[in-house]
């Protein structure tokens, strides 16, 4: 399992019903491309996050299939519609089988 993987997300704390908000996410991860060689000339095996999803109260916002061309510490910015009070759930899927999650509540007032 990759070490030091840490997700971070920016979501507003509140919104009005039906409002479109901007969400930013970052996860610290090497994103080893599989193209690099170590000092002995051996290929370093690929180890990346290959999928990222964002859902709200069980419904999907965005589902990203990721390739090694995504930079170290993958960053995503996108927009979501907030129909009601609830929780955003963020999930990152690692090549090694690890799954990293974060969630953020939002209040519709």
């Amino acid at each position: 399992m990759a070490s030091g993987v840490k997700p971070r997300v920016k979501v507003p704390a509140s919104a009005s019903a039906g409002e479109v908000i901007t969400i930013k996410t970052l996860i610290s991860h090497q994103m080893e491309s599989g193209q690099r060689k170590d000092s002995d000339g051996n290929k370093i095996p690929r180890s990346i996050i290959n999928r990222f999803t964002c859902d709200f109260n069980g419904e999907n916002v965005i589902d990203v299939t990721m390739e090694p061309a995504i930079s170290t510490n993958p960053y995503f910015e996108f927009q979501a519609t907030v129909p009601e009070t609830g929780e955003f759930k963020f999930t990152w899927y690692d090549d090694d089988g690890s799954v990293y999650e974060d969630s953020k509540p939002i209040t519709v007032g």
């Binding site: 589902d63 990203v64 390739e67 995504i70 930079s71 995503f76 927009q79 979501a80």
Partner: protein
């Protein structure tokens, strides 16, 4: 400074056949319009290891991004769910040299649109 002596930095030849195959796989060989999808990226990358891009295609179900000059061209596929506030997404990508980045969207009516932009990845100038 122009003495970027230690960086291995030779332009890659675009892998046209691989790119065509990837596009055909996504579109099923359908025609692609040149309107309906937008790709925003810097003229010159500050750093080829982390180049910001934004793709946008109103009403699209998915957008495929390819880097035609990378050793392996696939970059990402963005699929937009029912709660997407817009069919827009930004990320940062790796580019192995100056090349075209391509975005293809499957639009709401099932048709496809394509755009591309040349992004320059440079060793650097010197400055005034």
């Amino acid at each position: 400074g122009a003495g970027a002596a230690l960086v291995s930095f030779l332009p890659f030849r675009a892998n046209a056949a691989a790119v065509d195959d990837l596009i055909a796989e996504f579109t099923g060989g359908a025609e692609m319009a040149d309107r309906g999808v937008e790709l925003i990226a810097p003229e010159i990358a500050e750093n080829g290891n982390t180049v910001p891009i934004e793709v946008s295609a109103p009403g699209a179900s998915a957008i495929l991004v390819l880097a035609a000059g990378n050793p392996t061209p696939p970059v990402a596929k963005f699929a937009f769910g029912p709660l997407a506030g817009s069919q827009t997404a930004s990320t940062r990508i790796r580019l192995a040299g100056t090349q075209d980045v391509i975005a293809i969207a499957q639009l709401g009516d099932g048709t496809f649109a394509r755009t591309s932009k040349t992004i320059k990845v440079t060793i650097g100038g010197c400055g005034g």
